[in-house]
């Protein structure tokens, strides 16, 4: 079954066409047919990238470099529906397409950022589901409206095929109340739904599944800490297959230090700032989300590679502090989550930084020998380490490239077939 996986942002659409069904899932014979993206939607010009893949997603990390480079072009794309039309055009192109006709698409899977408390798993989108997603817009005003735009656009194009919503928050719905509640009056939680939701669910879920596969033990029998370090960063305590705590909270601002986000912060700081700097709610929000984190501390960049360069080659003190803060918080949460789970079997690094920065993996795991965590520096620094174990201690430390698209494609199939999605 060909599943069209969509991730719609404010000005971008990322997509994959994945061939999968329940049997192929079982036998691990799924194939990513092609993938691409349209960026800068609404600007002149927009840019498009498209790549034929034809690979099993689980073998993909090792073979990335052998694929022909993606085709890039500049196009004029006015909105999300035009972007999706363009994607379909690429996928059905006579020379480079991977299907003859768009009618070969049998289902569409959408990434939805926020599912609130309503969605504990993925769902086929019907009127009721749609209404509930719309109610969650207030929780993620920067994301959910664009995710929905993608749904409306594909509904216009393919009114008769099933569409499934896969939520970033769903994986964390297993957290117990003592982990997800804030110490505010309980009435506030009841009235506004203000609590920890957590994000990056599909990524934490994928790497949990994958590490179980790599070490040959079902994650239901393991205590795993997943560390997703990308543009946004979050960690999750996955206790016997279930998320029991995660660092991001009501919004993706809480927890680890990120590219431009503060992470953990005393809640009275923004209130004080509004008075001292004479700034508004919107401005203090922008300060904490866009001017802070690695960028705000280092004054160099929000890109970890540049911050590391500034710290190591130019010996810039603030870049070094930014890296220390970044790694210290990871170390701290490993300790906290090990305590929360009463032990630890594996730590998994994923996301752009987690997959590509040996330095960050090493710095954030030192001081943790007492827990049985010992990173093997040779394995950690190996050039071609795209997926695998990098530790020699009792606790396994792993690098696993994330694959949210595969989770979405699989859930799409499961939701349509009425099989348990979690």
């Amino acid at each position: 079954m060909k599943v069209f996986v969509l991730n719609c942002g404010s000005s971008s659409v990322k997509y994959q066409l994945i061939d999968t069904d329940l049997e192929k899932m079982e036998k691990q014979q799924e194939v990513v047919l092609a993938r691409g993206s349209v960026e800068k939607i609404g600007l002149v010009p927009s840019s498009s990238s498209y790549q034929v893949v034809q690979e099993n997603p689980l073998f993909l990390p090792q073979r990335q470099s052998k694929l022909p480079p993606p085709e890039k072009e500049t196009v004029e794309i006015v909105d999300h529906i035009a972007a999706i039309r363009h994607a379909i055009k690429c996928l059905t192109n006579e020379k480079t397409g991977v299907m003859r006709d768009a009618a070969e698409i049998q289902a569409v899977g959408h990434r939805m950022v926020h599912g609130g408390e309503k969605f504990k798993k993925s769902h086929v989108i019907d009127k009721e589901v749609l209404r509930n997603i719309q109610e969650c817009v207030e929780f993620a005003p920067l994301h959910n409206p664009h995710n929905l735009r993608g749904y409306y656009a594909t509904y216009d194009l393919f009114p008769n095929i099933p569409q499934v919503a896969v939520f970033d928050t769903a994986f964390h719905q297993t957290m117990p109340p003592y982990a997800y509640l804030y110490g505010l009056p309980y009435a506030i939680y009841q009235k506004h739904g203000i609590r920890r939701y957590g994000f990056h669910g599909s990524s934490h879920r994928y790497v949990t599944y994958r590490v179980g596969q790599l070490c040959g033990v079902n994650p239901d029998q393991l205590r795993i800490i997943t560390v997703h370090l990308g543009n946004g960063c979050s960690m999750t305590a996955v206790d016997h297959g279930k998320s029991i705590d995660t660092t991001m909270g009501f919004t993706p601002l809480e927890g680890l230090l990120m590219g431009t986000r503060t992470g953990d912060l005393d809640a009275s700081v923004p209130l004080t700032l509004m008075v001292k700097e004479e700034i508004s709610v919107a401005e203090v929000n922008a300060m904490m989300n866009k001017h802070s984190g690695l960028y705000g501390i280092s004054g160099v960049s929000n890109d970890m590679r540049e911050v590391i360069m500034a710290a190591t080659e130019q010996k810039r003190d603030r870049a070094k502090i930014a890296i220390d803060m970044f790694c210290y918080r990871i170390t701290k949460y490993v300790g906290a989550y090990t305590a929360a789970m009463g032990g630890l079997d594996h730590v998994v690094f994923t996301g752009g930084i987690g997959e590509n920065s040996p330095l960050i993996r090493e710095l954030s795991m030192r001081n943790l020998e007492f827990l049985g965590i010992e990173v093997d520096s040779q394995l950690n620094k190996m050039e071609n380490m795209v997926e695998g174990k990098i530790s020699k201690g009792k606790v396994g430390v792993w690098v696993v490239p994330t694959n949210e698209e595969l989770v979405i494609a699989r859930d799409t199939i499961r939701a349509i077939q009425g099989v348990n999605c979690s």
Binding site: S11, G42, L43, V44, V78, T260, E277, I279, A282, E283, V284, A286, M287, K290, H291
Partner: protein, 289 residues
């Protein structure tokens, strides 16, 4: 129909502010100015305003670049052939505005809506000059546009419901709350605030209370965010006087007669924040001392 391409005529404080907010809302903007140099000045003005926003942590450098990349300028009407909506924001001159509307309606697509930012000139008259009175209305933004979230949508005699609807939609996309008013001197905001400011000045002139105490009374006692005299200083006392005289002339009622103290201060050149002195004094950062 959502607005993707917006034409703005005049890139001064108002036009530049409208352009900035539109581009921030992902709308492509083309600003018409009579000369290339004036077009460049308009962009510099917007860039300076964006720098202020960066200093206030509201946006980032890369957002500034993205916003500026959506704004083009022209000294003809190049680019206006594909706009969905036009907003005029040139000087308050009936003849100049009428001429602009006669010109622009020749260039922009027949379905485009044309709006004027005027606060004093008849929408019905300008609509007739544009040759498309049904698709014509007033959109009265408040300065500084990036900071004031209100716009008055002004109906002329023939403005259609659909036109009003499209303007309302544009306002919403730009993050502005729209209210609907009919063509009448001062609309709602000016008509109400000018007599209020004027009365505050009488209270000071008659030695009932000091300027500082009048402002405290109105902010602490009546829930205004800023006192009326500080507000007047920000608007510019010359502008307050001009609007007051306009209301007095058009509506004829004595209650709009400008306070003599206001006239005296304008004659002395104490125009408020922009000259560093009005009812209060201001430092080089335009902060009240």
């Amino acid at each position: 129909m959502t607005v993707r391409n917006l034409g703005i005529i005049g890139g001064g404080t108002m036009g530049g502010g409208i352009a900035e907010v539109a581009a921030k809302s992902a709308i492509n903007v083309v600003i018409q100015e009579p000369t290339v140099a004036l077009g460049e000045r308009a962009i510099r003005g917007i860039a300076a305003s964006l720098d202020e926003a960066i200093a206030k942590w509201a946006i980032t450098e890369s957002e500034k670049r993205a916003i500026l990349s959506r704004i083009k300028t022209t000294d003809s009407y190049k680019g206006f052939e594909k706009v969905d909506f036009v907003i005029e924001a040139i000087v308050e001159s009936t003849e100049k505005k009428a001429k602009v509307f006669r010109e622009v309606s020749q260039v922009c697509p027949p379905e485009a809506v044309i709006a004027t930012n005027t606060s004093t000139i008849s929408i019905t008259y300008l609509g007739a000059q544009s040759g498309r009175p049904k698709q014509f209305l007033g959109m009265h933004f408040q300065p500084p546009v990036p900071k004031k979230p209100l716009v008055e949508l002004v109906r002329g005699l023939e403005t259609s419901d659909e036109t009003l609807q499209r303007a309302r939609q544009l306002a919403e996309v730009m993050g502005k709350t729209a209210i609907e008013v009919y063509e009448w001197p001062g609309y709602a905001t000016t008509r109400i605030i000018i007599p209020l400011i004027n009365e505050a000045m009488y209270v000071v002139m008659e030695n009932v209370a000091s300027a500082a105490d009048v402002d405290i009374a109105m902010s602490k006692g009546c829930g205004m965010q800023k006192g009326p005299l500080h507000l007047a200083d920000e608007m510019g006392l010359d502008a307050v006087l001009a609007q007051s005289e306009h209301l007095f002339r058009e509506l004829g009622d004595l209650k709009y007669r400008p306070c003599p103290l206001l006239k005296k201060m304008v004659r002395a050149g104490h125009l408020g924040v922009k000259t560093g002195r009005g009812f209060f004094t201001y430092n080089h950062e335009n902060k009240r001392e």
